[in-house]
Symmetry: C2
Subunit: 208 residues, 2 copies
DNA sequence: ACCTGAACACCGTTCAAGT
DNA sequence: ACCTGAACACCGTTCAAGT
């Protein structure tokens, strides 16, 4: 039986409006490919007044920050899963992580763009978002660390190597999302191929 | 003597409002680091009514597209100048181009972000913008081509190599602009060092 | 504690009207 | 040909008031 809807007041209190707003915003981000939609539209779709969101978020940016943080969680999960599939060879693992990373972004252009483009990273507001982003970054670092230990990756600054790897997958993802690399036909396969080719070049450059 | 301001009507016609609007918008992009400013604000600073811009641009996005195109022109000029400084070694040239590329973005975060993030690339509107972007991309391609000819870069798909190089510098620039890589202190020197390290890894990966 | 409705100070864009 | 001022249909955000 429902928790507290007994007084027939047509669920005046939503129960979990905060989560509903995040879900709605995420849906809109993926549908529109942007976060130009209005906060009032989010409220409308959630079935509440346009002022209701302010009970749960300081402003529109705060809501978007939560949506972005959820994105980094998903990115981490997907790349970690890819890494687990290649426990033996860090080189194969790095390539698999790269393909998974790019695939995540290409599948959700709007969400990925928000994660990076939303000016939400500036000035250390939204610490939870920052933590989520760093956790996603850490997957690359661990893979490279394993590679150094096994001797498949040359010794050297782990941070520099990780920056190179992250720059590469992030840059490729953005260029693909922006439509700046013609992947005519092929669909997702085209971006997979690019990711694999590009990651292979990197692995060669990192060879011991 | 002035062209046609003889009737003392306080320069009713601006003469070159179109260019003034682009300059004003560019100044705002660099000041704010975003293109969230309003079109009305641009008009205000240009000293015209809020409706005047519509005589020269279809909408706000069209104005921003021109600002972005000018950015790609500058990026091409800066990387080409860097390339000219190392005519002998394509390897050195590639590294110099990478440093120049990243430096351009780090110097003008708002402008660089607009060039890529403004959703202006989608769907082939703004063909002039697209041409400018491709011309900037071509600098990398030419450098790699020279490298292959001289034998400093391994034979293989020029396009794949160029995509790798572009992904790398683009990704690094974005991560630096977003403040996702702590360049504590050092200022621009920190990003130069990253650019050099990352580009060196790439060059190693492309070695013949 | 959470939600609503009215209100404020804005926008982008359009359009008749002026010169 | 280019610019203005009024007008339209919106926003994000605040706040008193309700339950």
């Amino acid at each position: 039986m429902p928790k507290r809807r007994s007084a027939g007041s047509a669920q005046y209190h939503h129960g979990d409006l905060r989560r509903v707003l995040i879900d709605t915003a995420l849906t809109l981000v993926n549908q529109e490919g942007t976060w130009n939609f209005t906060l009032r539209e989010v409220a409308r779709r959630a079935g509440v007044s346009h002022a209701a969101p302010y009970n749960h978020f300081a402003d529109k940016a705060a809501l978007l920050a939560d949506v972005a943080a959820r994105g980094f969680d998903g990115l981490r999960a997907r790349t970690e899963a890819a890494a687990r599939r290649h426990p033996r060879s860090p080189r194969q693992q790095l390539i698999a992580v790269a393909v998974a990373y790019v695939g995540f972004g290409v599948d959700r252009p709007g969400h990925y763009r928000l994660m990076f483009g939303g000016e939400l990273a500036e000035e250390g507001r939204y610490p939870e978002l920052q933590r989520a982003a760093e956790a996603a970054f850490a997957v690359l670092v661990r893979t490279l660390q394993d590679g150094q230990r096994v001797g498949e990756v040359r010794a050297g600054s782990l941070r520099d190597q990780a920056v190179a790897a992250w720059s590469l997958v992030h840059g490729l993802t953005m260029l693909l999302i922006d439509g700046r690399l013609s992947v005519t036909g092929l669909g997702g396969a085209g971006s997979d191929r690019y990711a694999r080719a590009v990651a292979t070049t990197l692995v060669d450059g990192l060879e011991a």
